[in-house]
Amino acid sequence: MGRVHLMYLHGRIYTCKYCQTHLALVEDVVSKQFHCRHGKAYLFNKVVNILLGYKEERMMITGLHTVSDIFCIGCGSIVGWKYEVAPDKAQKYKEGKFILERVKVVDFDGTNFWVSSEAQVGGSDADDAGD
């Protein structure tokens, strides 16, 4: 599949649980109050190194939204979704923003490149340290 072009973020970041691809900055979190089938989910302004899937309509707690699933470009696993269209005014703020499922990402201190962190395979969420 050629040499995958990856973007690298600096600072405290969330990386893909399976392939450690950088996905988003901790400081880009908009809200931590979201939920998905697998538990908690965070809303982000900006997410990198993802592929967008097709748009589809999905019924959420807050209504019928148009979303596209997002996949990590390193390993292809699904990491969340992107809000494309929200049903009413109260939900409009979500449009263009991304959801990362907490269980699919690992909190990683990106300033220290040489920490050999093993990905937490297992499923239980890591606690957010010092938030």
Partner: protein, 574 residues
């Protein structure tokens, strides 16, 4: 013998479809299809009283006069005179002829008088021309040492014209000091006949309708050839292929492509040597293969360079093409000798992985980017010379040092910085989307920037960077796809793509010319042979390197259908 009334007879004489001729006659009442009989020829000339040519924009009088001029320039005096007589259109009016004669013979006063008699000349022009003539008279008098006469000319004839006062002062200075005269006259000595040169100067001054400028016809034809060459999008041949007999249009024949299957895994990068004699391809199988390109375009395996432990994703040739620098992904940089294929030196830094490499302009030092965003510089033997920390802001990115010492690197994901080697001033290329890679043209005046939004932007690097063109159409969503310049005079831009095709655009217009299918995997990198404008190589995930031959040295007659090209190539694996 008018035009439309004679519709019937010419049709019977000329072998063309009646439909066509009739429509031609309807639209262009002054012109008939050129037939073989003399009668029709005579009609052609007579009918077009005012204009010549199918569009009616060429004035007949001008046309004949510039042909006459061209004949005289070529030395065909008799033909020129005959044309003047036969057409009844003289090259110059008799006054102008007299004027020319007088200038050549040095009869200055008479020539000034004649000048006044030439019709339709503005006062300003008359004065400037007189100035030139009298100036020549002045110089010749000085040469003959008739100083008093020269002075008289200057005071009584040149000065009253009241133009170009500075020049008048200079001339006055000449009388006093012979040294100044020498200096002024030095340029004249280059021309055998100063009077002829004066005539040329006067010709430039006088309006062209009075005196037809020299070499006008040649100039017009050169313009036309230039336009043809510029509009020929596939132009990839030498100027000697341009001919007056037919419009220049490079064809798009393709000879069979060659597929080179020697790598064991995806081929990520490839590059031709500067002299076009070698091709280096690097692969995920951790090897680099050196291919030799023979004069007739045959490509054969020369060496397989083994030693890297990680996939090799970048290769760069030294300026003399004798050595190769290769970089394993987050690993080490190796320097290889091309002739023997042996590894001369390994450059590494413990605890760091190297992510890019390149040569310094003199070839005595090399640099490598580290994965902690610093840059390390070594000499050839492996001694570390410098370590620039915080040099680059992007972890994995290209870096290049131009021959004048300018360092091109990425400041941010969306910015490329060109830092001058001496003055340390920075020029910036700012993009809206993330830059994945860039490549520089052979003359280092242009930069091709690959973006994450599936566009390739062309920037000029001279002075303040300017966006010149955008190329779109290829596909890039997750991989590092590279593009390059190519063709004679680098008139084309080629790129790989995730849809397994090689894309070729015309650099000037941005028009997509070609999508070459054939690979069965994403095309990661392309490289155009600098020495052979007809050879392009592409590296793909299907583990092959393909050599595309584009033969186009046969200019074809302009044909409207030739724009709908059909790719006709077969997989000839040699």
């Amino acid at each position: 013998m008018g035009g439309l009334e004679d519709e019937e007879p010419p049709l019977k004489r000329i072998k063309s479809s009646p439909q066509e001729s009739r429509s031609v006659l309807k639209n262009l009442p002054l012109i008939e299809p050129i037939g073989s009989s003399r009668d029709t020829m005579a009609k052609y000339v007579r009918l077009g009283d005012e204009t010549v040519g199918s569009k009616g924009i060429i004035k007949k009088v001008e046309f004949v006069r510039i042909i006459t001029r061209a004949l005289y320039s070529l030395g065909y005096e008799k033909s020129g005179a005959l044309l003047e007589e036969e057409s009844g259109i003289s090259l110059n009016s008799s006054t102008v002829n007299l004027f020319r004669q007088e200038v050549l013979e040095g009869k200055w006063d008479k020539s000034v008088a004649t000048l006044g008699k030439i019709a339709q000349l503005e006062d300003k022009i008359v004065k400037s021309a007189s100035f030139l003539i009298l100036e020549q008279k002045f110089f010749e008098l000085l040469q003959k040492e008739q100083v008093l006469d020269a002075l008289k000319t200057l005071r009584l004839e040149i000065a009253p014209l009241c133009i170009n006062k500075d020049r008048v002062h200079e001339l006055a200075g000449c009388i006093v000091s012979p040294a100044r005269y020498e200096r002024l006259v030095r340029d004249d000595a280059l021309h055998d006949n100063p009077r002829l040169r004066l005539l040329e100067e006067l010709q430039k001054l006088l309006p062209p309708s009075v005196m037809v400028p020299e070499r006008r016809l040649e100039h017009l034809l050169e313009q036309a050839l230039n336009v043809q060459r510029e509009s020929c999008v596939f132009h990839n041949s030498l100027d000697s292929a341009l001919s007056l007999y037919h419009d220049h249009q490079c064809g798009r024949d393709q000879i069979p492509t060659k597929t080179l299957q020697s790598h064991q895994d995806e081929v990520w990068f490839l590059k031709f040597a500067h002299n076009g004699k070698y091709l280096a391809s690097s692969s995920r199988d951790c090897t680099i293969i050196l291919w030799e390109v023979s004069k007739d375009g045959e490509v054969s395996l020369k060496h397989t360079l083994m030693g890297h432990q990680k996939p090799v994703f970048f290769v760069t040739w030294s300026f003399d093409d004798c050595q190769l620098l290769t970089c394993g992904i987050e690993e080490v940089v190796r320097r290889w000798d091309v002739e023997s294929g042996s590894c001369l030196q390994v450059y590494e830094k413990s605890n760091f992985g190297l992510v890019s490499c390149g040569w310094f302009p003199e070839g005595k030092k090399l640099f490598a980017g580290m994965n902690d965003r610093s840059v390390c510089i070594w000499d050839l033997e492996g001694k570390e010379l410098e370590w620039w920390k915080g040099q680059r802001a992007v972890k994995m990115s290209d870096m290049f040092i131009m021959s004048d010492g300018t360092v091109i690197s990425m400041n941010k994901e969306t910015t490329i910085v060109l830092k001058d080697g001496q003055t340390r001033t920075e020029r910036v290329i700012l993009e809206d989307n993330c830059i994945t890679s860039f490549s520089i043209s052979r003359d280092e005046r242009h930069l091709l920037v690959n973006l994450s939004n599936q566009e390739i932007h062309l920037w000029s690097t001279v002075g303040e960077p300017k966006l010149l063109a955008k190329y779109k159409g290829h596909k890039r969503t997750r991989l590092d796809i590279r593009s390059c310049f190519g063709g004679s005079e680098e008139a084309f831009v080629a790129s790989g793509s995730e849809d397994s095709m090689v894309y070729i655009w015309h650099r000037g217009t941005g028009k997509l010319l070609e999508k070459l299918p054939g690979h069965s995997g994403a095309v990661n990198c392309v490289s155009w042979n600098p020495a052979n404008p007809c050879m392009l190589a592409s590296a793909s995930d299907d583990r092959t390197v393909r050599i595309w031959g584009i033969s186009n040295v046969s200019p074809k007659l302009v044909n409207a259908c030739s724009n709908n090209f059909v790719i006709n190539h077969c997989n000839g694996i040699r």
